[in-house]
Symmetry: C2
Subunit: 412 residues, 2 copies
């Protein structure tokens, strides 16, 4: 920094869609990604959905020369899918798992099993401390289809995650000079979750701030022209949607500017397939030391921020009421199943004791009914416990948001 007053940092971010056995032409694509990363020589590479540790090891071997430092975040049954490659030493890491993450019974979405989380990697470059946050995509839902956006049961979960993410960043980034976040946020730029995250942390959107832009129209990262995209999901958005972001801010006496933002477009050079079903986002950041400390400014003017927090809190409240309803239904179902079981037990005992005249029910249907009741009892109890946890987390977030609002209002 002494000789050159400006540090240039090239950041790469991609949701790799590398799910073993499920993602199309996975191995080929991971190889293409590796080749491109080696060729381009970024400073920081944030990859998501690298679900197979084998793929990470292969990339690590291939990229060892130009990115000597790397980290793979492990969590959940399947893993977090997050990894980071860096040209500069990684000093420290931490992983934070969101407390709410979709529903275990929504098997088709699979969110609950993935240990969705946010990582933290501390990197020191030319004496500047960078806190780099790679994220796994938050609770999904077929976000892209309009019908779902109107009745989006996952919205409260995504808001809890956006809030926890913002809180985690605020609490861990206080000693950093620069914060960089990259990932698939699974939200449109104007969605309340993004506004909450940006407002509450003061992070800026590289796409909105970039001096130059090159890539898909409007910075979209999920585009219909990508051959792996399910086009029916993008019908309401003929241009595509922008859900992969690079966000940044300077914490202490530094300023950060995004000089250039790029997205990949179309197929990988010389190939017939793109790198992933998402487009990659590449930002060139210029970091400059400035005379006085910038302070921990919040991104949005505070009255606006209060509006955003209020909006988010209302949505979390809606989710809370829904979760309470589901907890009640599951509890009632469990009680009914238990009553049925007890009734059957009484009848069976009665029959055994010879109180009833003969066998009142055919044996087979009697035991089938008992098994059914037992199954329902177990399932309903599990659901009841799950929704109890959901209620607690939504309540906790709502309370934290209320506290934040009070603090915002009390500020002079």
């Amino acid at each position: 920094m002494e000789g050159d007053p400006t540090l240039q940092l090239r950041v790469f971010d991609l949701n790799c869609w590398a799910i073993r056995y499920l993602s199309k032409r996975r191995q080929e694509r991971v190889q293409l990604i590796g080749d491109m990363l080696r060729r381009e020589g970024f400073d920081l590479v944030l990859l998501q959905e690298v679900w197979s540790e084998r793929d990470y090891s292969d990339l690590k071997v291939k990229l060892g020369g130009c990115y000597p430092f790397s980290h793979y975040f492990r969590s959940g049954v399947i893993g977090s899918g997050l990894c980071v490659f860096s040209r500069f030493p990684i000093l420290d890491t931490l992983l934070y798992q969101y407390s709410l993450n979709g529903y275990p019974y929504m098997l088709q979405h699979g969110d609950w099993f993935c240990g969705k989380s946010v990582g933290l990697v501390v990197v020191k470059i030319s004496g500047i401390i960078f806190n780099v946050y790679p994220l796994s995509p938050p609770a999904s839902c077929q976000l892209h289809a309009e019908y779902c956006r109107e009745k989006d049961a996952y919205l409260p979960h995504r808001l809890v995650q956006a809030w926890e993410l913002a809180q985690f960043i605020r609490h861990t980034s206080k000693a950093a000079d620069v914060v960089v976040l990259g990932g698939d946020l699974n939200m449109h730029p104007e969605d309340v979750g993004i506004r909450l995250l940006r407002g509450w942390t003061g992070l800026r959107d590289a796409f909105a701030e970039a001096t130059r832009f090159e890539g898909c129209e409007d910075g979209c990262t999920l585009v219909p022209s990508n051959c792996f995209t399910v086009n029916s999901e993008l019908l309401p958005f003929p241009l595509g949607i922008r859900i992969d972001y690079i966000l940044y801010k300077a914490v202490s006496s530094f300023t950060v500017k995004c000089e250039e933002l790029k997205t990949t477009t179309g197929t990988a050079p010389g190939m017939d397939i793109p790198f992933s079903d998402h487009e990659a986002v590449m930002a060139t950041l210029h970091i400059r030391r400035q005379g006085q400390a910038a302070g921990d400014a919040l991104g949005t003017a505070e009255p606006t921020l209060a509006d955003v927090v209020t909006e988010a809190r209302t949505e979390v409240g809606v989710g809370l009421r829904a979760a309470r309803g589901q907890r009640y239904s599951a509890g009632r179902m469990a009680v009914l199943a238990l009553l049925l079981l007890l009734l059957q037990a009484a009848a069976a005992l009665g029959a055994l004791a010879g109180l009833a005249a003969g066998q009142p029910f055919p044996k087979l249907s009697f035991s089938l009914l008992a098994f059914l009741a037992l199954g329902v009892l177990l399932l309903a109890t599990g659901l009841h416990l799950f929704h109890t946890m959901e209620v607690k987390m939504l309540q906790g977030t709502e309370e934290q948001m209320r506290m934040a609002l009070r603090a915002l209002q009390e500020r002079p």
Copy 2:
């Protein structure tokens, strides 16, 4: 601070053992605790195992006058059991859940269901930022009985938790002036987990540092004379054990000293029962602003710290091998159950198709066997998934520890 150069802070910490329906004379004791807290007027009160939100609400109402600020941390199915009462405004909160927490099938220990976690409460007193960390007790095991300490299957889990706790504190406390941690750490003062936590964060033990001490011999917080203690568990330790701690450190240009440490002894004043099955710990800290910054000094000399991390890493490695073995056994069991099911299905199909001469097995035992195989299959699959997660987390921690060791060795 301007007029008075020293700030005195009185901190109270107690594991309340307030489990609904299970803890003896719970309501009475919670009331006693509330009365005592109101009478004594501490600055900060950290309570654990307040599992019923009702108990928290009652305390909040009772203590509203002298402790106008409070927070209850919600997590897991049952909750975190953590709450904080403060005479000074709480600016912000955060909760971090440990990634590993005992075994779901160890129902009698119940760890897995409690959402064991560490909270963070930011409090500002006279312009000094305090990061206060209340903890729920980490993965237990009948820690107190010697036979268990020798074959302690939970040790790797406790070490993962101690490591995550230390990492969480390091990453979130960088902008704080003073760090205070209070809780039941479920470890003896010389256990590797405590040495790891203290060494890696630089936290000091209020008992060891206190100028004056008053209370149970050796600062013990689980003592045989407490009528709620299960004495057979304390047999190898006739004096009791010290597992509840108040730890602290100054981060920036402050010094902290522990003037006085006390524990409760015997029954609550005028009553025939103590406050809990644990003794409370009460520390009086003196905080003084000093000329120059103290720096983020690590607590232990670095070669010693490297030894502690190496020791912890070895133990985590032992846990990793055990977890891999259990994952393998569970997987093999699942495959065997699946094979048995397939065999039965083939036999049943054969019988249906008339290939077999008559019915080879009695119907009832045949279906019972099928149900048994199905049950074993489900159970073994669940166990396999759980141990897969365990392996990932232990691996991740071992790798982080390796990285920390490298950093320690590379330091000039």
